[in-house]
């Protein structure tokens, strides 16, 4: 499955087919997660008619994988209509939600409509910590109930565990929880700056020593030595595109603005004023993004870690230069490929009493 999917994604990338579309249906949310990068007060979401038009245009462009997210998308009164429309349009629909609004009726509808996967964030196996991060008392119990409900109806669930200083130590227990309920488990140590570029959230980011610990955990990376071995560059590496964003993937925010990725807030057009087809094929901004190859990155092209680096062009853009490095990813690569002194997750300071 993974190999076939990789081949399909690679082909879409080569042909600039918009295989993967991510739409945030609203920025409103019933949680207030400490690390969230969104402005929850924003309104004026795309309506059902707008979305119906966008879905048809996405189908014309060859979209297969549609991710519906937010904010909390289920806060929309017309959410089930949107979901039915999306699933009936021929997309493989993935839903990102906190699960707190999923009951028996909603989970049955998701099964009947054929939702491919529901992704739900769980921050800890400890209700107290999870609720402290979401700032919604009782959210852990509601989220866990939703996960069990979905699994009881054989719906695929992915438990995402965004790692921060506050919850870094709990991921083995969250993974165990995922195994118990039959959910896929993913972690993400990236804390994204606020959507307006504000980096106040960076204080939540895990420390380099914690990251090093994660890269050494065989349950996460397989063989750590293999995972951390510098990658031999392919002969034509410099002709590679930096990322699928803008090539086979795009994002639409609740107000209709199209960007290459949710993490890449470079406006390329708005589906309220133009067809997604026109934006995808003709936007000068997207065409510029699409023209970039690794050789066009002044700093990164001369870095000896480039072959194994997962540089995010969106984070680079938010740092000020679309063609520049992303310092978060520079740090990750330096740690992964052991270009910094080794250390341990457990740090003990000693001194006179």
């Amino acid at each position: 499955m993974a190999e076939l999917l990789d081949r399909i994604q690679e082909r879409a990338l080569q042909l600039d087919v918009l295989l993967n579309l991510h739409i945030d249906l609203t920025y409103r949310c019933n949680e207030r997660c400490v690390h969230c990068y969104l402005d929850h007060n924003s309104r004026d979401d795309l309506n059902l008619t707008d979305l119906e038009r966008v879905f048809a245009q996405a189908r014309e462009l060859g979209t297969l994988f549609l991710t519906l997210s937010g904010g909390e998308p289920m806060l929309r009164r017309d959410f089930m209509e949107i979901l039915e429309l999306a699933c009936g349009s021929g997309f493989a629909v993935k839903l990102k939600t906190n699960g707190t609004m999923i009951g028996d009726a909603e989970s049955s509808a998701m099964r009947d409509l054929g939702v491919s996967e529901v992704q739900i964030s769980v921050y800890s196996d400890r209700a107290e910590l999870h609720d402290r991060i979401t700032k919604l008392p009782g959210s852990f119990e509601r989220t866990l109930r939703a996960i069990r409900l979905l699994r009881s109806k054989n719906i695929s669930v992915a438990i995402a565990d965004p790692l921060m200083k506050a919850n870094i130590e709990d991921y083995p227990q969250v993974r165990k929880l995922a195994e118990e309920v039959g959910a896929r488990f993913t972690i993400d140590p990236t804390i994204t700056p606020m959507i307006n570029g504000d980096t106040d959230l960076s204080g939540h980011r895990i420390s380099p020593s914690s990251l090093r610990f994660l890269y050494g955990d065989p349950t996460l990376v397989g063989d750590p030595q293999e995972f951390c071995r510098p990658v031999t560059p392919a002969a034509d590496l410099m002709d590679y595109v930096p990322c699928s964003a803008g090539h086979s993937a795009a994002y639409i925010n609740p107000h209709g603005s199209v960007t290459p990725c949710v993490q890449f807030p470079l406006a390329c057009g708005n589906v309220r004023h133009e067809s997604l087809v026109t934006i995808w094929r003709q936007s000068p901004v997207l065409l510029d993004v699409r023209s970039i190859r690794l050789k066009d990155l002044p700093s990164c092209s001369s870095c000896d870690l480039i072959a194994g680096c997962n540089r995010c062009p969106g984070l680079a853009y938010m740092e000020g230069n679309l063609r520049g490095p992303s310092s978060i990813d520079c740090e990750k690569s330096a740690i992964r490929f052991q270009r910094v002194p080794s250390g341990s997750l457990i740090q003990i300071s000693m001194g006179p009493a």
Binding site: M1, A12, L19, G62, T63, G114, S116, K153, N154, I155
Partner: protein, 109 residues
């Protein structure tokens, strides 16, 4: 049912990439990549055409293949995909939307 009317299960994720159909099944998240001949049958499976009509009118017209071989391969493909819940077949024309079923209940694959 040697010459059924066939239709795609409308509760699937599908697209055509570089002339080849891709199908994603929910829940088990299996992915199928059809070759151009299978794609031809898949795209024509709208509940309004018999399999022989699709083989004669589409497959044999578009590909250099003899009819018997094409029909035998098409029958095997249809049986396999019906068993997996990806295709639905009937003895008379039908609207695929009217028989759309949750994939989880229609599949035995």
């Amino acid at each position: 049912m040697n010459d059924p009317y066939i239709a795609r299960n409308t509760r699937l994720g599908t697209c055509t990439l570089a002339g080849e159909a891709i199908i994603v099944t929910p829940s088990d998240s299996r992915i199928y990549n059809l070759n151009p001949v299978a794609t031809c049958i898949w795209e024509a499976a709208d509940g309004q055409s018999r399999l022989t009509q699709i083989v004669d009118g589409r497959v044999c017209a578009e590909f250099d293949i003899d009819r018997d071989t094409a029909l035998n391969d098409a029958l095997r493909f249809v049986d396999d995909f019906c068993a997996k819940g990806l295709l639905v077949k009937a003895e008379s024309p039908f609207d695929p939307g009217s028989v759309a079923k949750p994939f989880l209940e229609s599949s035995n694959g």
